[in-house]
Subunit: 189 residues, 2 copies
Amino acid sequence: MARWQPYPSERLVLAALDLFEERGYEKTTVMEIAERAGLTKSTFFRHFADKREVLFGGDTMAGLLADWIEMAPEGATALEAVAHALDAVGRQAFTPERREFSFRRRAVIGANPELQEREALKGLALTAAMTEALERRDTPALTACVAAQLGALALKIAYERWSHTLGDSDFGELARRTLRELQTTSEEL
Amino acid sequence: MARWQPYPSERLVLAALDLFEERGYEKTTVMEIAERAGLTKSTFFRHFADKREVLFGGDTMAGLLADWIEMAPEGATALEAVAHALDAVGRQAFTPERREFSFRRRAVIGANPELQEREALKGLALTAAMTEALERRDTPALTACVAAQLGALALKIAYERWSHTLGDSDFGELARRTLRELQTTSEEL
DNA sequence: TCGGTTGATGGGACCAAGTGCCATAACATG
DNA sequence: CATGTTATGGCACTTGGTCCCATCAACCGA
């Protein structure tokens, strides 16, 4: 029998999500998470920087968004580039098999301020990444800032809607529709 | 001689700011902060919920903004109500004598991710408070959301500019001008 | 097949954040 | 002067997080 079972960090994530749902985030210790995953506290902190990060691990999102913004067609406006990126990221990261996990994750985060704090920070990083990517496309600073802000907001709202969906709705389409709504809203201010 | 010196939490805040500047946030312990203020660790946690909160204490901002948004003139648009609130809050909270403190505080926060995380959370709370206040003025949900977002962004940018100012510039005017810039920017998206 | 190297894990000591409880000293009030 | 209230000090305790070292599985070359 192999002593090292495969996918240690995935096991840790699932164990953590289970326990957070059962007893709540605060009443769950890192040792308990590790034990349920068949590992130890030491190993937990080798895979995640801290207890919160176990729910924010696969953190390639900011980079992905930035890449896709830069790869958008030459003539595209700032918002079009953002829409392009949302669509691409939707296909890559928001696959149907991840929807249930996202739903459970959202509920746990919504129940705990400490986790919301981490999520807020990730949101800032996301906006910053998009802003910089737009600026590399020679979008003026303020325009980049506002477009990124609207993009992040659209992402957040779309994520909320998507994770509540029952059928296999396409995240990209949801996000693009949301972004258009936000755009018309901002024009009517 | 009185054993209880006045303004314990103010002393704690200043002691903390000093130490954070000297050795950095992480290398400063709560005990050191308390001792420099002539108090103890126990007392520190009686005044602040945690170590980070010592820099985010006077946290009436969200409430103030919400109040002023609701008190804005009847016929005002969402953005005008926000501008009204920014102006009022500027007079109340961003007084000239607080400018130097704000500058030092900003530098410390900018140097530490843990503090940026807390700031991000406060930012979310601010946006949420403004959104809800706008909705109580019968602003449609999406409009309220976008207007609050722009307001929060304007506040952030204006705060940055203001804390770097040397003269006694008026925060309210700065914020309103910033908000107008953001509005025209968003119209040209 | 064997022995050495590499990388992931286990384990324990350790520090600091944060909680809870209780004693006590200062303040206010009669 | 006696009494109750409030802020503080002090201590024990749990937990998150760091560091270091021993160990064990897997891989690799001879």
